[in-house]
Amino acid sequence: MSQTSPDVLSQRFELGFTYTRSTGPVVGHFLTALKNKQLVGNRGSDGRVYVPPAEYDPVTAEALQDYVELGDTGIVQSWVWVNEPRAKHLMDKPFAFAQVVIDGADVPMLHMVDAGSESAMSTGMPVKLRWAETTRGHITDIACFEPV
């Protein structure tokens, strides 16, 4: 404990909510595939492919089941450069948050691109998924995307 002035006491304090969430069948299917280093989406009633898979059809609200295995490449649809990553970011060097449309999918997914510098980023650039060293069935099994 430290004192910020002669009288007033101040102290670091961490409030932790250590939740474990149930995934439900659709997200569970997606995470199980990630554990096996396989990206899986699903197809909606209008033929569009969602990744991560959608639990319910955005058009008809029907439960979606038509899973589609996807590759590990995609295109950056939009992005923002994070020049000064904060402690809670998953990368400790500058990176981009990007909407990546996986090849074969129609709806972008939000993830990080490890491009090294902002000048290496551009809309429409091809990227490739980088897997975490060990996968465990969690969204962080996708370490990030990197320029091709």
């Binding site: 404990m1 009288d7 909510f17 939740y19 474990t20 969430r21 995934t23 995470l31």
Partner: protein, 163 residues
């Protein structure tokens, strides 16, 4: 979809909020008092209510509380509950008693443990006194008081607790 028995069904999703907690001048005075083994409250200049731990203002009058009041470490049980369910991370073994106690000289209660008694004998209006850690272990923390224990004094009429 058929249930995949080997599939992922749960994921950890913890949230950690990191704060720099600053006690403020009123609560800091209370904590400095605890470091010395003394309970310090503050009196409202408007209604004379004594708050402990003081937050620096009177909830009733909306004015700053300025005058420090040294309180006894004897108190009265205002309410209590017997806890039977273990709480993760809490080292205290159930069943134990959590009580709102009003220190003598104060008008509001704070929460603490009651021990050195049969849980079944604890009652509203019962007189209790703080059991302190050894002085060498005192810090700026409420757990300088380990718990409150019943003392041999007549019960307070529930209507008069904190008056």
């Amino acid at each position: 979809m058929s249930e995949d028995k080997t599939g992922i069904t749960m994921m950890d999703a913890p949230i950690y909020l990191d704060y720099n907690f600053t006690a403020g001048s009123a609560t800091s005075r209370f904590l400095h008092g605890l470091k010395q083994g003394v309970l310090i409250g503050q009196r409202c200049p408007g209604c004379d209510a004594v708050y402990v731990p003081a937050r620096g203002s009177c909830a009733r009058c909306g004015v700053a509380t300025g005058e420090d009041v040294v309180l006894s470490d004897k108190a009265t049980v205002e309410s209590f509950t017997i806890v039977y369910i273990p709480i993760p991370g809490n080292p205290i073994k159930p069943p134990y008693i959590i009580a709102n106690v009003v220190p003598d000289g104060a008008n509001i209660s704070f929460i603490h443990l009651i021990s050195e008694c049969n849980n079944e004998d604890v009652r509203i209006g019962q007189r209790v006194q703080a059991v302190w850690k050894p002085e060498s272990e005192w810090t700026y923390a409420m757990d300088n008081i380990i718990y409150f224990k019943p003392i041999d004094e007549a019960d307070i009429d529930p209507e008069q607790i904190g008056r």
